[in-house]
């Protein structure tokens, strides 16, 4: 292995970004703490494109499905990657912590089982972790890696009631009247600055040249037009339909707070209901639902 991809600690307690380590002597810099939430998976694309050597990667449950995503899309050479699976009890939400504790006083945050241990000033505070986890981790169905070469420690139990809350937000939005729904989404999308962070972090958005970056033909206008923003979000969601594996990074990383999971999960729900339950990223060899069909499929339109 020429390098490993994992997480390191940065200056502040809430920062644990992805790191490439090439020097074995620097291995002590790798960390695993409540903030190692960033998905390391897409960095593999750049690594494999630029270097023929093997690389190691640490993956959480969600990240591991990203590995399967890339494998299914034939974007990864499995034999050139060593996957270290890290069973994950959920990652902490710095915003939620800041709301309850004086941000300046916090020195360190660690996760101990179901408890979050905070060092605030010189005292140690223990709180139930669940209240301080990221929303996306509360709906996580696969906390344990689904593909790995080596599992770092014992598997954790999946979170209770994750299934019930999975589509709760989708159902809430769907229950609005058409006009209300439109204005709800308008309010969300008008914040979008089309920075493409959602696309850039998404392991399902792994095209060599994204359709939105092409000039000829130009599928997406460059001007700040609400219709173009809508166009972007519709096509982005369509392109991950049946392929999104619900890691929720798109929504977490969005600087404008656009609730992208509500769109992605709507499509997952529709596909499950019409064409049978399918969870992306669990099997790298099957065919995603939009790449196959059955003669007796139902339709969402008048077939008479």
């Amino acid at each position: 292995m020429a390098a490993v991809i994992g997480w390191r600690k940065k200056d502040f307690w809430w920062q644990s970004p992805v790191v490439f380590l090439e020097d074995p002597a620097a291995a002590h810099r790798l960390v695993w703490d409540p903030f190692t939430v960033y998905s390391p998976v897409k960095f593999l694309l750049e690594w494999q494109a630029s270097c023929a050597a093997k690389v190691g990667i640490f993956v959480k449950g969600c990240d591991s499905r990203g590995i399967n995503r890339l494998l299914q899309d034939k974007r990864l050479e499995r034999e050139r990657v060593v996957v270290y699976g890290v069973p994950c009890g959920g990652k902490a939400d710095a915003e939620k912590i800041r709301a309850s504790f004086p941000a300046k006083g916090i020195k360190d945050v660690t996760l101990l089982g179901e408890q979050l241990v905070l060092t605030v000033g010189d005292r140690e505070v223990r709180v139930a972790a669940e209240a301080y986890l990221l929303d996306k981790c509360l709906t996580c169905r696969h906390p344990n890696p689904v593909v790995y070469d080596k599992l770092l420690w014992e598997e954790v139990l999946p979170r209770q009631r994750a299934d019930e809350s999975r589509f709760a937000r989708v159902q809430a939005v769907a229950s609005l009247a058409t006009e209300e729904r439109f204005f709800y989404w308008q309010r969300q999308f008008e914040r979008c600055i089309r920075c493409f962070a959602c696309r850039n972090t998404c392991p399902a958005c792994n095209c060599r040249v994204c359709i939105f970056d092409q000039a000829e033909p130009r599928w997406l206008g460059k001007a700040n037009d609400p219709a173009d923003t809508l166009n972007y979000h519709i096509i982005r969601a369509f392109h991950v339909a049946g392929r999104c594996f619900e890691c929720g990074e798109c929504e977490r990383i969005c600087p404008a707070g656009v609730p992208l999971q509500e769109l992605n999960r709507k499509l997952i729900k529709d596909i499950n209901e019409a064409y049978g339950d399918y969870e992306a990223g669990l099997d790298a060899t099957d065919q995603p639902p939009l790449g196959t069909y059955r003669g007796e499929d139902p339709a969402g339109f008048d077939e008479s």
């Binding site: 494109a49 899309d73 034939k74 359709i211």
Partner: protein, 659 residues
């Protein structure tokens, strides 16, 4: 900037009546890239076409838009027109202002506005039209026929008679198939062997036909005109060059096994020819049952062979050949009766399948053509024939009608009355279906002249009762219960697709239906074609049918093959998908949705920085692609595009049509 000419057709008053041509012409003149506008009463007329040609030359037009009737009507006519004026035929675009405008809108203002819009759309597309070229593909003028039954034999002979080479592959050691097992054929009662065996000999002796028996198709690649097929020649253990067919070995072989040809009624040896008139009339060793191959000791056949033809060392050989077209004629299996315990088949020796009964009728069969009970060798006086066994049964058999049973059961009843004087046939049926030339008359003969009693109602259970069989059912017409003591029961077994039909379909990249019969390209108009160009169907592998229909379909398939071979080369459809290398990520989403297997992976070399690297991308086989464009939408980055209907063209159309 393109130089586009627009030609507006009046179509007499068909268009001019509802569309203000002058207004449309004036509007067309202002459209982007349009340098010439003209109108004509009948553009498709010779004068109209001449006008277009002249204008192309005089005004140096490089794109042509014709506003007239539907492109489904005259697109080809006008493509030829622009081609004869020196332009690529795909520079033409048609605005359909008749079927989709003047004929459906009565209001002249609305019609005129729509015509302008449609022309603007066509102009926008035409500006993006590129020259497309059909690729000329050579043809390997040799056909492969898979299956050596009557369908394969007929197809091979018909193709060979037109002068083209044919290879015929048969899985068994001999030609003949199902028809060879039959005794007489309905409705004329001519002897099956008498009409089949001469054809088998013709195949063997035809200078254009190469016959491969004991061989199977292993792998199929390629496309219409250029298939590459690997054939597995199974180790026969008998050298066909040396063997004289004397038969010494057959008598001496000590290992015995149930004869497939005789439907298990008698035993054959481990070294065997399936039946006396086999072609080639030379044996094969069934290694699974041969004493030498199972125990390592014996070699009796080698000792007795005067020609030294036995070769225990022989191995399977894989040979690859090129073919231009393939005829699939793999026939059928008879339905397995595991789920029909009520008929006591397998529990009582005198309950027979129809094909077993057929062997009893046959002069070269186990009884020398006498109808005798397997249990005691006596001639049966009463025989119950039960129809629809495994047919029309959605609960535990085939939901479809096997089509041939009504007729062969009538034949059996007639032959029974001829062979066993004083005998009586009872035929239990649900419906009797005798559509076909002389078929109804044949059925009538069974009950009017030959004394068969037809009972509407299927048998519910067969009970062995001493030496006899008790058949219980009901006559639904009278409502009377039926209990008959009979000497023999014959079950009209249904026709199944070959158990391995799906495997072969996969190799050939053709489809099968829910019952595993091969799917024709169109149920009415293309009944012998498959979805894959160059692969044709003959006989029961496509669906149940009788001998006349099978032969007709085989000859039809042969003509289709000959029609392809009559050309020197084939022209590909130019509106096919193409892959843009730099956009393709190689995830092969396109391949999953292609109905023709036209997309495959290829390795390309690319410069990255200072080094050359390889990666995999999609590749379109233009010979297989039919231009549906399903792949273009499966491809997220738009790397695969459809020529003639590119993303650029359609987006330009959308932009123009919304103006």
């Amino acid at each position: 900037m393109k130089r586009i000419g627009v030609f507006i057709c009046w179509c007499g008053s068909n268009i001019a009546g509802t569309v203000d041509i002058d207004k449309v012409a004036a509007a067309a003149g202002t459209m982007n890239g349009v340098v010439y506008v003209d109108q004509n009463k009948y553009t498709c007329s010779e004068i109209g076409q001449a006008m277009i040609k002249d204008a192309i030359k005089e005004y140096k037009l490089d794109r042509v838009v014709i506003a007239a009737c539907s492109p489904r009507m005259h697109e080809n006519t006008f493509r030829k027109t622009v081609e004869s004026a020196g332009l690529n035929p795909y520079y033409l675009e048609i605005a359909n202002i008749r079927e989709q405008c003047s004929w459906v809108h009565k209001d002249k203002e609305a019609g005129t506005a729509k015509a302008i819009s449609l022309i603007r759309t066509a102009v926008a597309k035409a500006a993006m039209n590129e020259a497309l070229f059909a690729v000329e593909m050579p043809i390997t003028r040799r056909a492969l026929v898979i299956g050596g039954g009557i369908a394969g034999i007929q197809a091979a002979l018909d193709i060979a008679d037109t002068g083209f080479e044919v290879d015929l592959v048969e899985r068994e050691p001999s030609l003949g198939g199902r028809m060879a097992q039959l005794d007489k054929t309905f409705p004329t009662l001519d002897c099956s062997a008498c009409i089949l065996t001469p054809k088998m000999v013709d195949v063997a002796q035809h200078e254009k036909i190469r016959l491969f028996t004991y061989a199977e198709v292993e792998k199929v690649e390629g496309y219409l005109g250029n298939f590459t097929v690997t054939i597995r020649h199974r180790a026969r253990s008998v050298d066909l060059q040396k063997c004289t067919g004397c038969g010494e070995c057959l008598a001496k072989c000590p290992a015995k096994v149930a004869s497939e040809f005789e439907e298990g009624l008698v035993q054959r040896r481990a070294i065997y020819t399936p039946f006396p008139q086999a072609v080639p009339n030379k044996p094969a060793i069934d290694r699974a049952h041969c004493r030498f191959f199972t125990t390592g000791k014996c070699k009796v056949c080698q000792k007795v062979c005067p020609a030294d033809a036995i070769d225990y060392e022989m191995e399977d050989r894989l040979l690859t050949n090129g073919y231009g077209a393939i005829v699939v004629a793999t026939g059928f299996d008879t339905h397995k009766l595991n789920d029909y315990g009520e008929y006591a088949y397998g529990k009582h020796p005198d309950v027979l399948t129809s094909l077993e009964f057929e062997r009893l009728l046959n002069a070269s069969g186990p009884t020398g053509g006498k109808i005798l009970r397997p249990s005691d060798g006596k001639a049966p006086k009463t025989v119950a024939f039960i129809q629809c066994v495994g047919s029309r049964d959605k609960a535990k058999g085939n939901s479809y009608c096997a089509k041939i049973c009504c007729m062969y059961t009538a034949k059996h009843a007639i032959l029974l009355s001829e062979k066993v004087p004083g005998s009586k046939a009872f035929v239990f049926y649900i419906d009797v279906r005798t559509a076909g030339k002389d078929y109804e008359e044949f059925y009538t003969r069974a009950y009017e002249e030959c004394g068969a009693s037809y009972i509407k109602g299927n048998v519910s259970k067969v009970f062995p009762e001493g030496e006899k069989l008790l058949v219980r059912g009901v006559d639904v017409l009278s409502g009377a219960l039926v209990e008959l003591l009979v000497d023999m029961v014959v079950l009209a077994v249904s026709v199944d697709a070959r158990a391995d039909a799906k495997e072969l379909a996969k190799k050939l990249a053709v489809t099968v239906n829910e019952h595993k019969f091969f799917t024709e390209a169109h149920p009415k108009l293309r009944p012998v074609d498959t979805q894959t160009a160059g692969i044709f169907l003959a006989g029961v592998c496509q669906g149940p049918k009788d001998i006349p229909e099978t032969v007709a379909q085989a000859s039809a398939a042969a003509v289709k093959v000959a029609a392809i071979f009559s050309k020197q080369s084939l022209l590909s459809n130019p509106t096919v998908a193409e892959v843009e290398q730099k956009l393709c990520s190689g995830d092969m989403s396109c391949m999953a949705v292609c109905p023709y297997g036209a997309i495959s992976e290829q390795v390309v070399e690319e410069r990255r920085g200072r080094e050359m690297v390889t990666r995999k991308i999609a590749r379109v086989n233009v010979a297989l692609c039919q231009g549906c464009g399903a792949c273009t939408v499966a491809c997220r980055p738009g790397a695969i595009n459809l020529k003639g209907f590119t993303n650029q063209q359609i987006l330009a159309e959308v932009d123009a049509i919304c103006l």
